[in-house]
C-alpha cells in the first residue's frame, strides 16, 4: 500500500506512466471529501493530489482563474470573495451529509464531481464554467484542452468531459474556470405552508416571470426546521432567491410579491440569513444527521419530480425536499434499504432523469449502481470512451461502475444485482 503525493504535474505524469506500465490501479484523491460517494475502491495504491496546489493565474477583470488541481476550494473562494467575485455555480460541500469535516475539497474535485448548488438553475454547474484543463490520461500522457478565454470552440471540449467523470478518465493537474462578480444584494422571498404540488406551481410561475429568480427551493413541513438552525420555524417554506444590484432586487421582490400574493403568507429574508438558508440547502443540511441511511440526489423535469416522490411514498418511507424549481430532489430513506430499483423505475415512469446514491453504507454501494445505469448503446459508448482515455483501467477502477472495462453500467444488468 503506497501513497504517491506528487507536488508537480511532472511527478503526476511519472506516477501514471509507472502505474500504466505495471497495470496497477490507483485511487485518485484530493482531500477525500467525497470519498464516500461511488462504489468502494479496492486499490493497492493511492494518488494523493492534495500537494499539487496553488493559484497560478487570477485576473479579476478578465473573469478567469487557473489553479493546480489540488488547490483547496476554500482557499480559492476566499481569494475570489476578497475581489468581490465568486464561482457562480455555487459548488456544494458534501461533508455535512457524509459526516466529514466541512470546508474541505479541492478545485479538481469540484470539476470531477461536476458540483453545483441552488444557483444551478440560472448559472449552470461546474461544467458550464470550466474553460480549460491540463490532465494526464490513463495512458500516461499529459494533454491539455480549452484555454483561458471564455469563448472558445477550438477542438473538442475535453474539459467538459472531465466534469462528472469522478477521476475515471484522467488525472486533472490544472484547471481554469470562469469567475463572475458576486451579487451586491440578495433577498429571499418565502411562501409558507404550501404542499408540494402548489409549491411547484408557485416556483414555475416565479421562474416564468421576468423577476430573474436565481434559485427556487421547496422545504416541506418539518424539513423547513432543519435549515438555519430552525430559526424560520417548521412550516413548509417555498423559497425564491433574487440577487443583483440593490434597486433591482427591491423591484423584483415587489414584482414577485404581486405575482404570488395569493399563493400563501409571504416572508422576506435578507442578507446573511438568506445566505445561510441557501448554504444549508446547497449542502443538503436537512439530511445531515450524522447517520449512514441512504440519501439520493435525483434530477428530473421540475414539474414531474414531485409526482414521482408521491408515488414513491406509497411504497417506501422517505423524506424529501426540492431545489432547482422542484427538479432536484434530495431523498432520505427512513429504512436501510435504498430501494434503488423502485426509485429508478418510478423516475423512468415519470418522464426520466437520473438518481445518484450519494450516501449509503459501503455494502449497498458495492452491490447497487450508485450512478444512474445507462441504456445499452449509451453505456457501450461511455465504456469505449473510458477505454480511449484509460485502456489499462488504472484510474479509479470501478468507482462509477463495476467491472474492468465498463465505465457506466448498462441498465439491463441492474435487476441482476
Amino acid at each position: 500500500m503506497t501513497t504517491f503525493t506528487p507536488s508537480s504535474s511532472a511527478e503526476v505524469l511519472t506516477t501514471i506512466q509507472w502505474a500504466a506500465a505495471e497495470e496497477t490501479p490507483l485511487e485518485l484523491l484530493g482531500h477525500g471529501s467525497k470519498r464516500g460517494i461511488g462504489r468502494p475502491l479496492q486499490t493497492e495504491h493511492t494518488l494523493d493530489l492534495s500537494k499539487l496546489t496553488g493559484v497560478t493565474l487570477y485576473e479579476p477583470a478578465e473573469l478567469v482563474l487557473s489553479a493546480k488541481a489540488g488547490t483547496p476550494l476554500a482557499e480559492i473562494e476566499k481569494l475570489l470573495a476578497e475581489n468581490g467575485q465568486q464561482f457562480a455555480f455555487e459548488p456544494m460541500d458534501y461533508a455535512p451529509l457524509l459526516g466529514s469535516q466541512p470546508g474541505r475539497g479541492t478545485i479538481g474535485g469540484v470539476l470531477a464531481a461536476n458540483l453545483s448548488g441552488p444557483r444551478r438553475l440560472k448559472a449552470g454547474a461546474a461544467r458550464d464554467h470550466i474553460l480549460g484543463v491540463a490532465a494526464v490520461s490513463g495512458r500516461g500522457e499529459a494533454f491539455k484542452s480549452g484555454g483561458r478565454v471564455v469563448k472558445n470552440v477550438t477542438g473538442y471540449d475535453l474539459s467538459k468531459l472531465m466534469a462528472n467523470s469522478w477521476g475515471t478518465l484522467a488525472v486533472l493537474t490544472d484547471v481554469t474556470f470562469k469567475v463572475l462578480p458576486a451579487a451586491e444584494t440578495e433577498v429571499t422571498l418565502a411562501i409558507r405552508g404550501l404542499l408540494d404540488e402548489a409549491a411547484v406551481a408557485a416556483m414555475a410561475l416565479a421562474l416564468g416571470s421576468s423577476a430573474e429568480v436565481s434559485s427556487a427551493a421547496h422545504l416541506p413541513e418539518r424539513i423547513a426546521a432543519r435549515v438555519a438552525g430552525g430559526k424560520h420555524g417548521s412550516d413548509a417554506a417555498t423559497l425564491l432567491r433574487v440577487e443583483g444590484f440593490g434597486p433591482s432586487v427591491v423591484y423584483r421582490i415587489e414584482a414577485l410579491r404581486k405575482l404570488l400574493g395569493k399563493a400563501g403568507p409571504l416572508e422576506q429574508i435578507a442578507g446573511e440569513a438568506s445566505k445561510t438558508i441557501w448554504r444549508d440547502i446547497r449542502d443538503c443540511r436537512p439530511f445531515a444527521d450524522g447517520g449512514t441511511r441512504p440519501v439520493w440526489r435525483v434530477s428530473m423535469a421540475p414539474s414531474a419530480a414531485h409526482h414521482m416522490v408521491m408515488a414513491l411514498r406509497m411504497q417506501a418511507a422517505v423524506d424529501a425536499f426540492y431545489d432547482w424549481q422542484g427538479g432536484l430532489v434530495w431523498l432520505s430513506m427512513r429504512e436501510d434499504d435504498p430501494e434503488a430499483e423502485l426509485l429508478r423505475n418510478l423516475i423512468r415512469k415519470h418522464g426520466g432523469g437520473h438518481a445518484t446514491l450519494v450516501r449509503a453504507a459501503a455494502p449497498h454501494r458495492a452491490a447497487l449502481p450508485v450512478f444512474e445505469p445507462q441504456p445499452p448503446h449509451l453505456a457501450a459508448l461511455s465504456a469505449r470512451l473510458k477505454a480511449e482515455f484509460d485502456p489499462k483501467n488504472i484510474l479509479n477502477l470501478g468507482r462509477m461502475a463495476p467491472g474492468a472495462s465498463s465505465a457506466t453500467l448498462p441498465r439491463s444488468t441492474e435487476g441482476a444485482l
Binding site: F4, E62, V149, N152, S209, S303
Partner: protein, 498 residues
Amino acid sequence: MSGLAMPKPDAETMRRRAEIVADMRIIVPGEGVVDTANEMRAFESDGLTAYRQLPLVVVLPETVAQVSRVLKYCNERNIRVVPRGSGTSLSGGALPLEDAVLLVMSRFNRILAIDYPNRIVVAQPGVTNLGITTAVDQEGFYYAPDPSSQIACSIGGNVAENSGGVHCLKYGLTANNVLGIEMVLMNGEVVRLGGSHLDQEGYDLLGVMTGSEGLLGVVTEVTVRILKKPETARALLIGFPTSEQGGQCVADIIGAGIIPGGMEMMDRPAIHAAEDFVQVGYPLDVEALLIVELDGPSVEVDHLIGLIEGIAYRNGSTTCRISQSEQERLSFWAGRKAAFPAVGRISPDYYCMDGTIPRKELPRVLAGMRELSEKYGLGVANVFHAGDGNLHPLILYDANVPGELDKAESFGADILRLCVEVGGVLTGEHGVGVEKRDLMPEMFNQIDLDQQMRVKCAFDPNHLLNPGKVFPQLRRCAELGRMHVHRGQLAFPDIPRF
C-alpha cells in the same frame, strides 16, 4: 489554405455511385434524394464560400429511422457522410466531399414540444435558431444564444458548432442552453443525452457533442432552455480616442460587477464603413466605439447606465449617447449589425476571422494587426465582442486579383497565430472546420490532438463522419489505441514516493 488537402476520394465508392444512389432512394423514398449536378449545386458550399465541392449524392431524410439506416448503410460499406444543417457555417464545417453522402437535416423542421412550466422547447434539428424564439415569443419567452445568422442557421447546426452571439457574455453559449439531444451514431445506433432535467448522468457526452462540428454523431432532436424576455433594454454608444481607453472601460465595467447583456467594440475602419452604409450617427473622430446594452427591469437598467456613464467618463470617453427610445437603441445596433455588409461595400471581398484573446491584450493585437496589414498590403476592419474577447477582423481583398485570396488567408493565419501567442485561441464561435484545420498545431501538440481524435474513435472508429474537418491529419484508431510502454526505461524502477 487554398491548397487545402481533403481526404482522397475512395475509388470503390465512386465506382458504385449509381448503386448507392438507388439504395438511398429505397431508404428515403419520395423526393429525399438529389443526385443531378444541377440540383446538387445548391449544396456545394456553406458560409465559407471560397470552397466548393459537389457531393456524391444529397440525401434529405425525414425520420430518425431513415437517418439511422443511412448511417448504418454507409458505415457497413465504408462510405463517408457529411452532415449539414442550414449550411451557414463560416468555417466550412458542411463543405461536401466528392465521395461522401451529404446528409441534409432541413426536413427535420418541426417544433415537437413547448413546455412553459419547465421552460423548455423540444425541436427537430432543422428548426432555425430564430424559429425557436418565434414559437415562444407570444408568451414573452425567447432562446438566448443569438448568432448573427439566427434567421437561417439551424438549432442542430448550433449544437454542432456551439454557437454564440452578442448575448452570450451574460446568457452563455449553446452548450449552456441545451439540456438534451437525441443523436444517431455512425453505426446507426440512436442515443439520448440529457433531457428535460439538468445535468446528464455519467460522462458529459452532451458537453463534448456540443461544438464537435458534425464529426461525432448526427443530432436528430434538441431540448433547449428558454428564458422570459427582459422587461426592457437600453444601450450606450461610447466613443474613445484610443482602443486602450475603450479596452480599459470594458475592464472597469466588469470590475464594477456589471455583466451587460451585450458589449461590442468597433475600430475606426469598421466605424467608418458602417456609418457610410447606414448613417446612424456614429462618431467619426474616435478610434474605438463601444456599444453596451443593459437588459432587465428598467430600475436596474437605469441604475447601471448611470454607473457605466461614470466609468466611461473616467476612461476619457469623448462621446457618450444613451438610447432614449427603442428606436434609438436599435439604431445604435444597426451599424454594428450591418458591419459585415458595410465592409462588403468598401471592398470586393472580405475574409472574416474569429480569434479570441484575453481582453487586456487588445491594444497589442490591434497594433500587431496594423503591422500585418502593412506587410500584406491588405486593409482590415475590426468588430469585437468586447466582453468576452472574441475578435472578428475583416480582411479586405479582391478575389479577382490573382494571389489576393492566398494573401488574405496568410494574413488571417498570422492574426490567429498572434491570438494564440497572447494566450487566446483560434476560434471563439465560428468553428475550426476546414478553414482553421491546419492551424490546430499552433494551439495543440500532437498528444493533445491525439487525445481528441481518440474521442472521435469512441464515436466513429472508421473516421467516416465529416472527415477532413477539424483535424489536420487523421490517424487510424488502431494506431491511436496502441500504448508504447517501455518498462525498462521508467524513471522509477522502484515504486516512487514523492
